[in-house]
């Protein structure tokens, strides 16, 4: 996929993945890939800076937790109230954009079919 498309929608994707339950960095990458049949593939160097940016903005909250298996603590991220509002706004924005694009492309396709 076009990396700019991913980059432009990164906040929306991450917030949507984090929304249901707390999740850590590595799981976010796999979740994004699995839920989109491998369409979203975060490049190295993209995920953690984006998570830290969202954390600084107050949209997500990170906390270290020890897992029952032991070992080093793992940093889990959960969405905050302001993150929920941001996600909701971005969803609406994306849906409006997608709808407009579909109308445009649908019309273009329709007119193309009519010409042929």
């Amino acid at each position: 996929m076009n990396p700019n498309l991913l980059k432009g929608n990164l906040d929306l994707i991450l917030l949507a993945i984090i929304e249901p339950e707390p999740i850590y960095g590595g799981e976010i990458t796999r979740e994004a890939s699995e839920r989109t049949n491998g369409y979203f593939d975060f490049k190295e160097g993209t995920l953690y800076p984006a998570l830290h940016r969202l954390e600084k903005s107050g949209f997500i909250r990170g906390s270290f937790q020890y897992l029952p298996r032991g070992g080093s603590p793992v940093k889990f991220y959960e969405i905050t109230e302001s993150g929920q509002r941001e996600l909701s706004a971005k969803r609406k924005e994306h849906q409006a954009f997608g709808s407009a694009m579909n109308s445009l492309l649908g019309d273009s396709l329709g007119s193309l079919l009519r010409k042929t």
Binding site: Y24, G25, G26, E27, T29, K43, E44, G45, T46, Y48, P49, H52, R53, G62, F64, L67, R69, G71, S72, P73, V74, K75
Partner: protein
């Protein structure tokens, strides 16, 4: 250091302090969790697989530097710019200016000039300004390079209200001594036993760096041969015969301040390595100095805090 720690160190290269430790802990926890999952699935090479999934550590480092370090770099650069404009407040010198003998030398690589101050002139003038001076050589340093085993000629100035003395010495390295030879300054790898009986000079940048350690407020004032005000003492660096390029003195102060701010976040060298950022910083500082040139004479002041 094992493979995992090597990877984490590489991925967080360039970061600094508490933030670096926190990010290292995050990466460690995330990778270990993945290794554990892979081992449960029977993967015999779980560590390498997990690191492969993470991707190139160098790219992670670049991404993290952009997120965590660059805003601080810019913040410091902007702060210096603000200081340049905000420190317009009136500064009055209670003492007459003192002239420090200075020589300039053009660098062959470009049209810039570097300035060098004569040690003996610094001593004479600061003494005349009432600053007490001690020229006892510094004690040798054991377990160090051969040169350090000898006593180091030094000058120690005691400024009133300074947190620590101004110490100038002819040690190789940052304070590299330079010697006047046939009208030209040459680097002196084996400095003279006395730094005041010979025509030994020190780089202006090194001098500024040592001055900063005194903890005294440092101001640059004026445009034509700007003066350097250290606490209540004013030093005149240039002269009518040798006009010190004002934008260079201003930018020396500004660049040092920025580098200092950046080094607090530990990433100066890494930013240089990864971003080629020193060029941007250099340009910014010189633009700042050029901008100051446009201001009225009374506003030509910058404070190094």
């Amino acid at each position: 250091m094992n493979r995992l720690e090597q990877y984490i160190a590489q991925a967080t290269k360039g970061l600094y302090g508490k933030k670096k430790l926190e990010i290292q802990a995050e990466l460690r926890g995330s990778i270990e969790a993945r290794i554990w999952q892979l081992e449960l699935q029977g993967n015999q090479n779980a560590l390498e697989t997990a690191l492969l999934e993470m991707g190139d550590a160098r790219n992670i480092s670049v991404g993290l530097i952009k997120e965590h370090l660059m805003p601080n770099v810019l913040k410091n650069a902007v702060l210096v710019g603000i200081f340049a404009i905000a420190s317009i407040s009136a500064l009055t010198s209670s003492q007459a200016q003192i002239q420090v003998e200075t020589v300039g030398q053009s660098l062959s690589t470009d049209k810039m000039s570097m300035y060098y101050l004569r040690f003996s002139s610094i001593k004479e003038n600061l003494e005349a300004a009432g600053i007490s001076v001690d020229d006892t050589p510094l004690a040798p340093v054991e377990n160090s390079v051969a040169y350090s085993l000898a006593t180091k000629p030094s000058l120690r100035f005691r400024f009133p209200d300074a947190k620590q003395d101004l110490v100038l010495q002819t040690a190789p390295g940052f304070d590299s001594p330079w010697k006047a030879d046939a009208g030209e300054l040459v680097f002196d790898p084996k400095p003279s036993a006395s730094i005041t009986n010979d025509r030994v000079y020190m780089n202006l940048w090194s001098f500024l760096h040592q001055l900063k350690k005194t903890g005294l407020p440092i101001n640059v004032e004026g445009w034509r041969n700007p003066s350097l005000k250290v606490g209540k003492t004013t030093l005149q660096i240039g002269s009518e015969k040798l006009l010190v390029t004002p934008w260079q003195l201003y930018s020396s102060i500004a660049s040092q301040a920025v580098q200092e701010g950046v080094s607090e976040f530990g990433g100066w060298l890494m930013v240089m390595e990864y971003m080629g950022y020193e060029i941007m910083l250099f340009v910014l500082m010189h633009l700042l100095a050029r901008f100051m040139q446009l201001l009225p004479q009374s506003m030509h002041r910058i404070q190094w805090v």
